[in-house]
């Protein structure tokens, strides 16, 4: 029977390929480690992760071990999947819209950190989650394609439908949810009408921020839903003023990124030390030009010049996490109904 030998040969190869990867994956450090679950762009080569790790390890006598997933939503899913068996000591990278659900898992413990010194707009106060950075959502536009950017949400909604915007899907991404809440904050009960009007200007709705921003920089649409800090990246790294954020007179919705510590962690003291470190300059210095967000606490040096040119929102919208949690489904349904009719 020829194919049996052929089969065993293949089986051997499959196992060998698997075993190699398995072995490569199993290696772990032996000394005292602090395991931080976070999102991927935090730990990427260009993210703040490596600098934060180096700075904290200098003082803590420990090893920082990152486990990273795609984004904040995936972070929460991962925790729910792992439940009480989670290996995390710290979870870093949820946003305010997710904290209510995160608390419902019962996995988090009070931070015990004094957050009164933090300078985060929108009075977010929480005894479990500690903010480490924030950014306001904004419509970023291409100055070469748009001469008169919208000056308000109303301008955006009622403006020239031939000038398109790319937005993210609230069913799959946090910026998408952010825009949904922003429109809701501005329009309240009339949000559905606003979406019906805005629909004509929406080029397409992408699953996440990456796809939307790529379409925007490739010139498919002159506007995209992003952050007020996005232009800073282009000014500092690409040395161009081409992409700017539009200041909206009604105000901007904020995204605050937070971290919390896990109740069952065997390294709670270490974890608390990390949270304290997180709101100190050693951590905060890495945020502006690595995470491209606004630091939540004092940095050792003033922010780079580009940051002084960014839009400073006249007003900050922030709904409390429990309101978001309670209404998210209904509001997404409302959005679906308003935007999917033809």
């Amino acid at each position: 029977m020829p194919n049996r030998s052929l089969l065993s040969l293949f089986a051997g190869l499959v196992l060998a390929a698997g075993a190699t990867l398995f072995a490569a994956h199993g290696a772990e450090a032996a000394d005292k480690t602090l395991t931080i679950y976070t999102y991927e762009s935090f730990t990427a080569d260009w993210g703040p992760g490596a600098k934060v790790k180096a700075a904290f390890e200098k003082t803590c006598g420990c090893t920082v071990n990152y486990v990273s997933v795609t984004d904040g939503v995936a972070l929460l899913s991962r925790l729910k999947l792992e439940g009480a068996g989670t290996k995390a000591d710290i979870v870093l990278g949820l946003d305010t819209n997710l904290v209510d659900e995160a608390k419902d898992t019962g996995l988090f413990d009070a931070s015990g950190i004094d957050t009164s010194g933090l300078k985060v707009p929108g009075d977010f106060k929480d005894d479990v989650f500690v903010p480490y950075d924030f950014g306001h959502f904004a419509v970023v536009y291409d100055t070469q394609a748009i001469k008169n950017p919208p000056k308000s949400m109303k301008d955006l909604v009622e403006g020239d439908p031939s000038q398109k915007i790319v937005i993210e899907d609230p069913r799959t991404s946090t910026p998408g949810l952010g825009l949904l809440l922003w429109v809701k904050s501005v329009y309240g009960d009339k949000a559905a009408d606003a979406w019906t009007k805005l629909k004509g200007r929406i080029l397409t709705v992408t699953p996440g921020w990456s796809e939307a921003y790529d379409l925007f920089t490739k010139g498919e649409a002159p506007m995209v839903l992003s952050y007020t800090t996005s232009p800073a990246y282009h000014m500092i790294t690409d040395k161009t003023d081409r992409y700017q954020a539009a200041a909206f007179s009604e105000g901007h919705y904020i995204q605050i990124e937070v971290a919390g510590l896990i109740k069952s962690s065997p390294n709670k003291e270490l974890a608390r030390d990390f949270l304290k470190f997180m709101v100190s300059p050693g951590f905060q210095d890495t945020i502006p030009t690595n995470n491209w967000m606004m630091p939540a606490a004092a940095t050792s040096e003033p922010l780079p010049d580009a940051f002084s040119k960014l839009v400073v929102p006249s007003k900050t919208f922030l709904m409390s996490p429990d309101v978001v949690d309670k209404n998210r489904k209904a509001w997404i349904d409302e959005w679906l109904a308003a935007t999917s009719t033809n």
């Binding site: 190869l13 762009s41 939503v73 729910k80």
Partner: protein, 547 residues
């Protein structure tokens, strides 16, 4: 079929074992999800008007996409088969394998480089004085993208079928002076008719489960597939019960449609051939040459231009710097290891399934159990495409918690999931070649008493080597472009190439992402070249059965 009783038993046992493995892998994931004790918050999917709308759109776009891809593939495959010798023919066929291996996001961006608002199509129109760009977003964009990804697949599979037509037929057609319409009616169409249900089924499943493409090019939530709803249920709502219910809905509805398509009559198997060289006189007619050239040019442009756009944007990146980074080397090694593992596993399972099916179909009097096994084998091996990878990955993540950190098993799980997704493709590449090989060799091998390794060495490996490499390169390319399963586990030690592309995109590094996308496309092309190596001219081998 000439087999000893023990060979027969082993073949059937192998098929049953493969089937059990697949069923267990999928079943365990679903059972774990359902028993996770997470209370479902959504209502009954069958009475939810939103979901019914989603289901309707899913089926509508999948039907149209399949119809367009398959119908348009027929003239392309025919032109390729009729013109067995022209410069660049093999490269055109290789080019057609690239879209399958590209992550869909990259393919979509390539398409937008041509058909988008800033694409060359619209720039040409603006040059002609049109003030507003023509927008493809919406159903048009989805169809365009699905045809871009699936027409080449359909054309390749059809071409392989047309090239299996015995040379004697063409000799006869030439002798009878058959006109091209008669050739199509009496030779080509009967062959294609047998292939079309299978190819359509495959493409239908691919389009029905489309996710990223539909969201990016669909223009808004009016264009939503069930896959989006499943993703949302697991990702944002974390409602495994609902995700499983939606997956079952997706599987059942699509399976019903596929079953209906399978009812179409399939022609008899083609007879034995002496394996002489194919000479197609019909393609040499001046009219045919002109039409075929025009068709092939169009097909080349349609597939090639978006790929060229990926190349052009990719070349703007600092490729040398990218390639020199350790993270890149890590990613490409991981990607290739996973792809090789998945490809091998898919081939292993395919051989087991194909052998069992061929043994059972050769039985004169089939026991009902065997008939059931044959149906289950063909059903399972194609329907696996409908099981959302995120459901499998999440279910297994939950199940593996019992054995420690589930991410330690991530590589193995990704290999298995990718292998499952490649299975239907691998079977379609290997099965016809295997059938021909079996018919050609089994009597001789049996009469010589060749068995075991000597038969493998002397007969099977030389005869099946080419389809083996074609299928392997195909499966590897598919796995290489996959992001789905990695996304859930993705941790620092398991960085794949598509994951790296997304990660660059996720932090403003669009240029780097473009560069990596280009490299990824290049790797797919290299794989295809490896898979089609030694298939240069059409006449260097008597019959080819392995594209």
């Amino acid at each position: 079929m000439i087999l000893t009783a023990s060979e027969r038993r082993r073949a059937i046992a192998g098929g049953a074992f493969g089937l059990a493995g697949i069923a267990l892998f999928i079943g365990l994931a679903i059972v774990t999800l359902l028993s996770a004790g997470i209370v479902s918050t959504g209502g009954n999917p069958l009475t939810d008007p939103y979901l019914l709308r989603v289901l309707r759109f899913t089926l509508l776009q999948a039907t149209l996409s399949t119809l367009l891809s398959v119908v348009l593939a027929i003239p392309v495959a025919r032109a390729l088969a009729r013109q067995p010798r022209f410069p660049g023919r093999l490269w055109l066929i290789r080019l057609m394998a690239v879209p399958m291996g590209l992550p869909v996001l990259i393919g979509a961006l390539g398409l937008l480089g041509i058909w988008g608002r800033q694409g060359i199509f619209n720039q040409a129109l603006t040059g002609l004085g049109l003030s507003q760009p023509v927008s493809i977003y919406g159903l048009t964009g989805i169809l365009l993208a699905h045809v871009f990804f699936n027409l080449p697949l359909a054309a390749r599979l059809m071409l392989a079928g047309l090239e299996r037509v015995p040379a004697e037929y063409w000799l006869m057609a030439g002798g009878l002076g058959m006109r091209p319409t008669s050739v199509f009616r009496f030779i080509e169409w009967p062959m294609l008719r047998g292939l079309i249900p299978g190819i359509s089924g495959l493409i239908f499943m691919l389009c029905a489960t489309s996710f990223t493409l539909v969201l990016i090019l669909g223009g808004g939530p009016a264009a939503t597939t069930l896959e989006v709803a499943i993703y949302q249920a697991l990702r944002f709502d974390f409602d495994p019960g609902r995700a499983v219910a939606l997956s079952l809905l997706q599987i059942i509805v699509t399976a019903a449609i596929l079953a209906a398509m399978a009812l179409l009559p399939a022609p008899d198997d083609h007879g034995l051939t002496a394996g002489r060289a194919v000479r197609r006189i019909d393609g040499a007619l001046p009219g045919a040459k002109l039409i075929d050239s025009a068709l092939l040019l169009l097909a080349t442009l349609f597939v090639g231009l978006p790929l060229a756009s990926v190349v052009i944007t990719g070349l703007k990146a600092d490729l040398l710097r990218l390639v020199g980074q350790t993270i890149f080397l890590q990613a490409i090694l991981t990607s290739l290891s996973i792809a090789l593992g998945a490809g091998m596993l898919a081939i292993l399972a395919s051989f087991a399934i194909i052998r069992a099916r061929s043994v059972i179909s050769a039985e004169r009097r089939k026991a009902p159990g065997l008939r059931g096994l044959a149906i289950a084998l063909s059903g399972t091996s194609s329907l696996v495409l409908l099981v959302p990878p995120i459901v499998l990955a999440t279910g297994w993540f939950l199940a593996l918690r019992l054995f420690g950190d589930p991410t330690r098993f991530a590589a193995l799980l990704i290999i298995v999931i990718n292998a499952l997704m490649a299975l239907p493709f691998v079977i379609r590449v290997i099965e016809p070649a295997y059938a021909v090989h079996r018919r050609r060799t089994e009597r001789l091998a049996a009469s010589l008493g060749l068995q075991g390794l000597s038969r493998l060495h002397l007969i099977d490996w030389p005869g099946l080597r080419k389809p083996f490499f074609t299928a392997l390169s195909f499966a590897m390319a598919l796995s290489l472009g996959d992001l789905g399963a990695v996304a859930l586990f993705g941790s620092d030690s398991l960085m794949t190439l598509p994951w790296l592309v997304y990660s660059k995109l996720g932090s403003y590094r669009t240029n780097d992402a473009d560069g990596l996308a280009f490299i990824l496309g290049l790797v797919c092309l290299l794989l295809t070249i490896a898979g089609t190596a030694g298939q240069g001219g059409h006449e260097d081998e008597g019959r080819r059965n392995d594209r």
